[in-house]
């Protein structure tokens, strides 16, 4: 038992001597936590549109000003021809082109129908669909609002059936994206640190030859592993705390639910992550190798965890994979506790998953680590 205290003493001394790593572990996440949520915004605003008005009628001008004042669009240019407008799309200056043909107003009144040409830069799928949908609805609104149509409508007196929809967003009344993304980024950073650091550290010892020296001593396997896990676990929890403080100071986000629960689960998650790093180190012989393998898996964890995109929208095979990553479950838990104040009973299943991962990964790593080869 005493041996562990010597081992821990050595590990801590070594960690604190390595100033760069310390800085990395604290500064990098903090900076990223501050920057990233401010940069990310899924709202689609400022869609750039180039307008080609060949009609110059009061209708066309009214339509254009309606679009311009909608708040969604930015009219980048008024061009004389479709070809000219297209150049804006090519140069990435516009996302859409709307072409109002010659004789638009006249033909609409005379024939009852007129076409408007819309060209969408469809490379950016989301922007295109949303921009197109907005434009359509503005055009439809304009259509209905045309006085020639209004006259007709008010003549009709059939029973209008109007369903009023009243909606509210619970836990996030202003539907602010930051409440969603900030805990997510925190999880992300914790994951990166936990996953990489242990793996790198142990492989570094392998490369230096000091592992062999350890293997030759009576240090037991579990003592060695604990000796690696504990210091990094402590550091991870400190980083987590720092992250939470940043959340509070910079974004004003405080957990609605129980902090104790949050910490408890974060502790377990950290153990799972460190176990993952440990596992990787048993398979790698060089730091570069360990890093790439860890990076590969962590990328997958992060992308599939529901950080940026939602898990349920994934096809079922992807969902299955997502469930196999500990990050997914932790992400869910953090959001649930911090934003909804969910309690232990609500989180039971997710917690079981994480505990299973902690045991599984660490167990595998311990089994894999052999003092004698």
């Amino acid at each position: 038992m005493k041996r562990i205290s010597f081992i821990l003493q050595k590990e801590f001394r070594q960690i604190f001597r390595d100033k760069t790593i310390l800085v990395m572990m604290f500064a990098v996440p903090t900076i990223q936590l501050i920057i990233i949520p401010q940069a990310i915004n899924f709202d689609v605003k400022n869609i750039n549109i180039s307008v080609v008005d060949l009609d110059h009628s009061s209708f066309s001008q009214k339509l254009i000003s309606k679009i311009g004042s909608s708040g969604y669009f930015r009219i980048v240019s008024a061009d004389l021809s479709y070809r000219q407008a297209l150049k804006h799309i090519e140069k990435e200056e516009a996302d859409l082109v709307m072409e109002i043909p010659v004789g638009f107003e006249r033909n609409l009144v005379r024939e009852g129908a007129q076409k408007i040409g819309i060209s969408v830069d469809a490379i950016n799928g989301t922007k295109a669909t949303i921009g197109y949908a907005y434009l359509n609805s503005i055009i439809a609104e304009f259509n209905t609002g045309l006085d020639i149509n209004q006259v007709e409508l008010s003549g009709n007196h059939s029973m209008a059936g109007i369903i009023e929809i009243e909606y509210s967003n619970w836990f996030n009344p202003m539907a602010e994206y930051k409440y969603y993304i900030v805990p997510g980024v925190l999880v992300l950073l914790l994951t990166m640190i936990g996953g990489f650091i242990t793996a790198l550290n142990i492989v570094r010892e392998k490369e230096a030859g000091t592992i062999e020296q350890i293997n030759v001593t009576p240090i037991k396997k579990w003592e060695f592993i604990l000796g690696k896990l504990i210091p990094f676990w402590i550091i991870g929890m400190i980083v987590f705390s720092v992250g939470l403080i940043v959340c509070w100071l910079v974004y004003g986000i405080v957990s609605v639910g129980s902090m104790a629960l949050l910490y408890l689960i974060a502790a377990v998650y950290m153990i799972a992550l460190l176990g993952f790093g440990l596992l990787i180190s048993t398979f790698s012989d060089s730091q570069v190798q360990a890093m790439f393998v860890a990076f590969f898996f962590i990328m997958i964890f992060i992308l599939m965890s529901g950080l940026f995109t939602s898990v349920e929208s994934m096809p079922s095979w992807a969902r299955a994979i997502s469930n196999l990553t500990p990050t997914t479950h932790f992400m869910k838990i953090v959001r649930m506790i911090m934003m909804k104040g969910s309690g232990l009973t609500d989180l039971k299943i997710e917690l079981y998953y994480i505990i299973a991962f902690a045991f599984g990964l660490n167990g595998w790593a311990i089994w894999n680590y052999k003092k004698t080869s």
């Binding site: 041996r3 205290s5 003493q9 062999e212 009576p218 004698t372």
Partner: protein, 247 residues
């Protein structure tokens, strides 16, 4: 058989079809300085790793300090010391911190460690440097320190893997003085080297060629047997028949 420090019988280590260690048998007496010689690639390091409990043999028997290498490795490890080719001390810990760590790992109590380490540091003449990082020490000091750490817990046997590589002759001589002192206090020394002049310092030597043990005797007898003036020549006569070049 408590008398013998190390016993090997038909010890073999196979990697696929390749015999790194091929049926070697020998015994080492307590308190002996035993030189384990051979060219690079002859299988010395592999054999030594088996004896230290770092590697499982493919077949054959071996006991170290009375414990067998198949299922009593942890007991072996409690009773041995080890100094590897890379002088594995922690470069970013100080001299005292390194000693403290290894002392604690082998079960010494903190007061014991304190007492012994102070003495050790004085004996080595490193008292003023005790708080300096090992990484900043010159090679000769590192080497002597590594040896001292290896026997800090007064093990029964200490294994030294090419301990004098890259060091000047004066330091090498001093190092061997330390080895003599250790042997005199009852520690068995098992040392591999390819400096043939060091072979002369040993009680007995063995020479491995291509995984096999080709000679085992005192340096004097070997020289007589091969009608050579130096161990260099003895070795040359044996080793040039070797087929393998590198470990």
């Amino acid at each position: 058989m408590e008398e013998k420090a190390i016993i090997c019988k038909d010890l073999t280590k196979q990697f696929g079809g390749f015999y790194a260690v091929n049926n070697i048998s020998f015994e080492v007496n307590r308190g002996e300085i035993f030189g384990f010689l051979g060219a690079n690639g002859a299988g010395k390091t592999t054999a030594m790793r088996i004896l230290c409990g770092l590697s499982f043999p493919t077949s054959g028997e071996a006991t170290v300090a009375g414990f067998n290498v198949y299922n009593q490795q942890e007991s072996i490890k409690k009773n041995i010391g080890y100094m590897s080719q890379k002088f594995s001390l922690y470069e970013n810990l100080s001299i005292m911190e390194n000693i403290e760590f290894f002392g604690g790992v082998y079960g010494l109590s903190r007061p014991e460690i304190k007492e012994r380490s102070n003495k050790l540091v004085e004996d080595l003449g490193l008292k003023k440097e005790a708080k300096k990082m090992v990484g900043g020490l010159p090679l000769g000091w590192k080497q002597k320190l590594a040896f001292s750490v290896a026997i800090f817990h007064r093990p029964k046997i200490v294994f030294l893997d090419e301990p004098t590589g890259g060091v000047d002759p004066v330091t090498r001589r001093q190092f061997w003085d330390m080895i003599y002192d250790a042997a005199a206090s009852g520690i068995t020394i098992f040392v591999t080297t390819h400096y043939m002049d060091e072979a002369e310092y040993c009680n007995r030597v063995s020479i491995m060629v291509d995984g096999r043990l080709e000679a085992l005797d005192t340096p004097g007898n070997l020289k007589k047997r091969f009608s050579s003036d130096s161990m260099d020549e003895v070795f040359y006569n044996l080793a040039r028949r070797a087929l393998r070049k590198d470990d």
